[in-house]
Structures are given as C-alpha cells and as structure tokens.
C-alpha cells in the first residue's frame, strides 16, 4: 500500500473534496446562467483523476479529459481560475476563447485536450519525444474515456507510444458509459485490460473509486515508464454518476446500477479510510472542507467580479506574429466606411489604371 505521509493523505482528501465542491459550484452557476455551453461533471470519478495525478512528479506532463478536473487541481491550477474559465470570464488560460478543461499550462505540465475525442496520447507522444531527445527523466500521463478509446486517433497514439517505447502512462477511465452508449456497445471486450495485448504494453486494473489504489497503481506505472519500461496502461474501473452533461437526465441508466455504485462513492470510502487510520477524523475533515468552501466563496466572488473579455479580443492571437486584432471590414470606424469609396477613385481609370 501507499507510503504517503499523513499530510499527503490529508492533502488527497482536500483535492477529492475540492473537486467535488468546485463542481457543485459549477452546477449552481450553470443553473444561474453563469456558465454557458456544456457542463460536464466528474461526480463519482474524482478518485481516478486525483489519485492518478497525485502519482506524478512536478516535472511530468498530463493531458486531461473533460472529467479530469481533479487532475488539473492536483497539478496546481487555482479554483478561482477554473471558475473564471468555466464562466467564460477573462482568465490567463484561454482568455475565454475555449471552455471546460480545454487549456494548456506549460508551467504546470498540463496539455489541454480538444473536443474531438482521442487525441491526447498522440499529442503527449510529442511531449515524450521532447523528453527523450533532451534526455530528461520525465513521464507523460494521458486520460481517456472508454468511449474515446475507440477512436482511430487514440489507437494510433497508443500504437505509436508503444512502438517508440515512450515514457507514457495511459489512464483509461472505464466509467461504463460514453454519453448514452454503454461501454459494451463501444467495445466487444468484457475486460478492458485486454486492450493492452494489442500494443504489448503492461497493464494494471484498478478500483477507480479508491483513491489510494489508483495512486498506487499509477505510481507503479509511472515508475516503470520513468525507468525505461515504455508505455503503460492503467484501467480504472469507475462510474459516471450523473448524465453526460447538464442537459442529460441519464434516463437510460438502470437505477440499480447507479445505486450499487453510489455505495462505492470515492469520498465516502476515503473518509472511512481516514477514520479507520485516524489520519483525519471527522473534525479534522470538517476543517478541511470548511477551508475549501471558504476559498470557493471567495473564488466565486472573484469570478463574478471578473469581466468577460473585450469583444475585439476575438480577433487576436491566431498567429504569433500578428500586430493586433484584425478588424472586420464592416466594423471599421464610420470614418473608415466613408473613406472606403474614396479608395477607388474612378479617376484612376482615366489615367490607365495607375496606382494611386
């Protein structure tokens, strides 16, 4: 079992709770219309994201999926920034140009995903190639849903990493659903660790709702990858406790299944562990939670106070070497409009079309 210190064990609790609490804030803000577009929660899967990310070193890189808020928090992105991001307020990650977990923070080793599923491993392969050519001892970790793992992009990425023996850990989040599609309609395998054979990579299956087991398995995988063991697969068995996104009432999910998994709630289970071991009793945990909530109160307020980006920001940063926002023709100043016809003096025609 893990060799984490009591402080670390409490920190893990903090991250688990923070992930859940922050998402609850998101959900409230969504209902208030403060979050527009899609909102995807990771309820029930927090241990997978938090436990695995906690197993990485500071210098390592991670590519989250939409349900890996926990990993992003562990990497060190501040909740107040996440709130600004989710609320489409100005923020240093995206400036409001993209939503959810779609951002990259090189200083924290986070490479953000795009919506089209399956690209994470491929892109991290490039990061790992950079480690190799620079003889750096660093590891990459890519998250991918069970559904996403059926994409061609994911297959090519896994295969490439395996062939090139890259220091890569893939965490497959087997949460039983891909939107409304049960994972057995995504792949024919019953045991998702079978996927590993096709790439000849070591694999571990882990209880994804048990944060310490996730941590341990990932730590072993990261260790093997760092020691030159090449690509590693960790299959986390977990469950998506809410619908795909806010608009999905999850009607298609069998009630008993949901009930059974509610029994395995990762926070409840970890609290029981903290109780048993005496690492953090109820009182201590309440302190942590209160602290988290107080921080979130402030963070929400900051986000609400942060303006949305300036409209004309939309025109900048397409290329590195742009001077500034490009202004659409029809949005020039009125002077510009009035000028425009004068740009093309019919007189020019008389003199044979000379430039003016």
């Amino acid at each position: 079992m893990s060799t984490l210190s009591a402080t670390q064990l409490r920190e893990l609790y903090r991250y688990l709770y923070l992930t859940r609490a922050l998402e609850e804030r998101f959900e409230n803000l969504f209902k208030q219309g403060q979050i527009v577009g899609g909102l995807y929660r990771s309820l029930g899967q927090e241990a997978t994201a938090v436990g695995s990310a906690y197993a990485l070193g500071e210098e390592d890189w991670v590519a989250p999926s939409i349900r890996d808020l926990g990993a992003i928090l562990v990497r060190g992105v501040e909740p107040r920034l996440m709130l600004r991001q989710y609320m489409a307020r100005d923020n240093p990650m995206t400036g409001g140009r993209d939503n959810t977990t779609h951002f990259t923070v090189p200083e924290l080793g986070i490479l953000g995903p795009i919506s089209p599923l399956g690209t994470q491993i491929s892109v991290l392969n490039g990061v790992a190639l950079a480690f190799r050519v620079r003889s750096e001892d660093r590891v990459c970790l890519a998250y991918q849903g069970d559904g996403a793992s059926r994409t061609g992009a994911h297959h090519e990425g896994m295969n490439f990493a395996a062939v090139q023996d890259l220091p890569m850990v893939a965490v497959l989040e087997h949460n039983r659903w891909a939107f409304s599609t049960p994972s057995d309609a995504e792949a024919a395998v019953e045991d998702w660790t079978d996927v590993a054979a096709a790439y000849d990579v070591p694999v571990e299956q882990v209880d994804g709702n048990h944060v310490l087991e996730v941590y341990d398995a990932t730590r072993r995988a990261v260790g093997r990858a760092r020691d030159g063991g090449g690509m590693q697969l960790v299959v986390a068995e977990t469950y998506r406790m809410l619908g795909h996104a806010q608009h999905d009432d999850q009607e298609y999910v069998p009630g008993e299944e949901l009930e059974a998994w509610r029994e395995r709630d990762p926070l409840d289970r970890y609290e029981a562990y903290l109780d048993e071991t005496g690492v953090a009793d109820g009182e201590r945990r309440r302190e942590i939670r209160d602290d988290v909530e107080a921080g979130l109160d402030e963070a929400v307020q900051e986000a609400l106070d942060t303006p949305r980006p300036e409209p004309s920001d939309a025109g900048s940063r397409v290329w590195a070497d742009e001077d500034g926002p490009r202004v659409p023709w029809t949005r020039r100043s009125p002077v510009g409009y009035d000028d425009a016809p004068a740009d093309v003096p019919p007189a020019a025609r008389e003199t044979g079309g000379e430039e003016t």
Partner: protein, 340 residues
C-alpha cells in the same frame, strides 16, 4: 421567429407549424417508413434518440438493424455508410456535431466522393449533423465545415435555412444517388417555425436556390442561418433607407445554382455574399468568382463579403458575438455597396 419574411418559402398548402428540428425528424421518419433501404447510424442515435433528440422514438419503431448506435468512430461510421450505400441501402450517418466530421475526412473525400468516378459504383449516402455557432459552445461545437469540402468533386452539400427546406432537402438528399453532406444549423433547431403541408410530400430538389425575399437594389447571396440575418437586415434597410434587398438562399452549395445568382445580380447590379464561416478561403470565394465570370458587366460595385472573422469560434459570449457576422454588419455592408 417564424419564417416567411419573404415570399419565396411559400408553402400554399395548409399545414402544421413545426420547428426546423421537427422538420428534420419528419423527413427521416417518413423516408424510413416509405423506404426500408433507409437506415440511420451514429453515436447515441438509438438509445438516447440523438444528442438533439432528432431520432427519439426511432429505435422503438425501426429496431436496431435500422437505428444503429455506434462506437465513437466517425471514420467507421462513414465507412459503413459507404459500403451499405454500395449495396443499395440508403444510409444516413449522423455526426453528433458536424465538427466531428474531421476524423471522417479521409473516408468522405477519398472514398465516398471519388468512388463513382473511379469505379462507376456510386455511394448514395447522407452525412448530417448540427453545424454553426451562436450557442456559446466554443471552437469545437460551432464550426461551419462546408469550405473543407467545397473543392471535392463528387460530394454534394446542402444547408437548409427554413423548415420547409430542412424537410425537403433532407428527403432529396436521402434519395440522391450520390454522397450528400447535410448541414443543419443548430441555432435554428428550435428557433424557427414554419408550416409544412400535411399528407403531401415536400419537394425541394437539390441544386436549386430560392428567393427568400424579393428586392431590386442589391442581392444578398447566402445560406443557412445567415438567411435570417440577411432578411432582418433587408427589413431594416427597407424601413430606414427605403431600399429593397433581394435575399437569395442558395440552399444547395454543391451543385451550386449559378443561374439563380446571376439572374438576380443582373437585375440588382450589386451583390453581397454572406456566410457564417470565416471569410478567408470560405465559400464566398466561389460565389464571387462565379459572379465575376458570369455577371461582371452587370456589376455596379464590387462583390463584397460579410462573414465571421478569420479565427476559430471563441466561447465567451462577447467574443463569439464579435466573431460572428451580425445583422449590423450586413446593413453596413449593404449601405456601402448601395452608395458605391
């Protein structure tokens, strides 16, 4: 918003007021009812009834041989549609968002588009999905992808703007013997309503533009959701400036109804081309080139474009609004052209 700002949509038959989304659903339902070669495949189309609930109830009615929930594999989806089409079936493949057509690009451009030309055996299939911005959905759930396929011989492309066309064009697309990309604008799904005849087929052939609003001073050539913005701009200019813009809804982008564009521009002598995708390299280029080639002598002003700005579609509302072409832009551009 209801349709019929102009005269061109004119369904004379009495019918029900339905949404654009419902029109799509009806077309699918009726084609599946009348032709057992038609089937649907895509992600979450069965169990869930599609991300936008367009195929809700289809699984129960048609069974899982004809409503196929697939893995997240757009290339395999389009691939299977091709093979089935070559066996004489009429597949309708759904992309959950049209942005996700990108992983199927090879299948469409290299397989579906070229197969008739190369082998004589065509593939009559439809790939449909929600396109377009305005829903604060960020760079990957908002794209208009027509330009990616504009230069690909063998493909057809439609982009309905009205309820009637949504139904009629989908019906034609399904019956067409060649691959058709059907771009439905998600912003219109529940925002526009229109009358559909009951008990009678809506006929909208591919390849024919439609005059959405008649006018004599300037032709706005456009398609998809921009038709409605153009009509709004036209109304505003009629009221404020006393000028009449004609709004031509292309409806089909490939094959393009050059005749209708040219006819209109020869009457109005001025053309404004509008689309929701960015301008550079967008479909407006083709339209401008054709007008140049076919109506140059009749042009009293340059053909000009009103489009999104040349960036991805940003998420935050002020950014997205700035990115997208607005009624205001159309009005400004039209005034500029009219004063030219």
């Amino acid at each position: 918003m209801t349709e019929g700002t102009g005269s061109g949509d004119g369904s004379s038959t009495e019918g029900e007021q339905v949404t654009y989304l419902e029109a799509i659903r009806q077309a699918l339902w009726e084609e599946m009812k009348t032709d057992d070669r038609v089937f649907i495949l895509g992600e979450d189309v069965g169990n869930y009834g599609g991300a936008f609930k367009i195929t809700e109830g289809f699984l129960e009615e048609f069974g899982d041989d004809r409503i196929i929930d697939t893995p997240i594999s757009e290339s395999a989806i389009v691939g299977a549609a091709i093979g089935a089409a070559q066996m004489g079936l009429r597949p309708v493949a759904e992309m959950q968002f049209i942005d996700f057509i990108a992983p199927a690009f090879d299948m469409l451009v290299n397989f579906a588009a070229k197969v008739r030309y190369r082998t004589g055996e065509g593939a009559g299939l439809v790939v449909r999905g929600p396109c377009g911005a305005g829903a604060r959905s960020g760079p990957f759930h908002s794209q208009n992808v027509e330009s990616y396929f504009a230069n690909v011989a063998g493909l057809k492309m439609v982009a309905p703007a009205t309820v009637r066309d949504a139904k009629g064009l989908l019906r034609s697309a399904i019956r067409d013997p060649d691959p058709v990309l059907y771009f439905e604008h998600k912003h219109l799904y529940r925002r526009i309503k229109g009358e559909l005849p009951t008990g009678e087929e809506v006929e909208v052939p591919l390849g024919e533009a439609r005059t959405h609003r008649e006018g004599s001073d300037l032709t706005v050539i456009t398609y998809g959701s921009m038709v409605h913005k153009a009509a709004e701009a036209a109304d505003r200019l009629a009221e404020e400036d006393g000028v009449e813009l004609e709004v031509l809804d292309l409806r089909t982008l490939r094959p393009l109804d050059a005749g209708a564009m040219v006819e209109s521009v020869k009457r109005t002598n001025r053309a404004l081309v509008a689309h929701e995708a960015p301008g550079f390299g967008g479909f407006a280029g083709e339209i401008t080139a054709q007008l140049n080639e076919e109506a140059f002598e009749w042009l009293d002003a340059p053909v000009r474009r009103v489009t999104a700005i040349d960036t991805p579609v940003p998420y935050s509302p002020p950014l997205e609004d700035y990115h997208l072409p607005q009624v205001e832009d159309l009005a400004t551009a039209a005034r500029w052209l009219l004063s030219y």
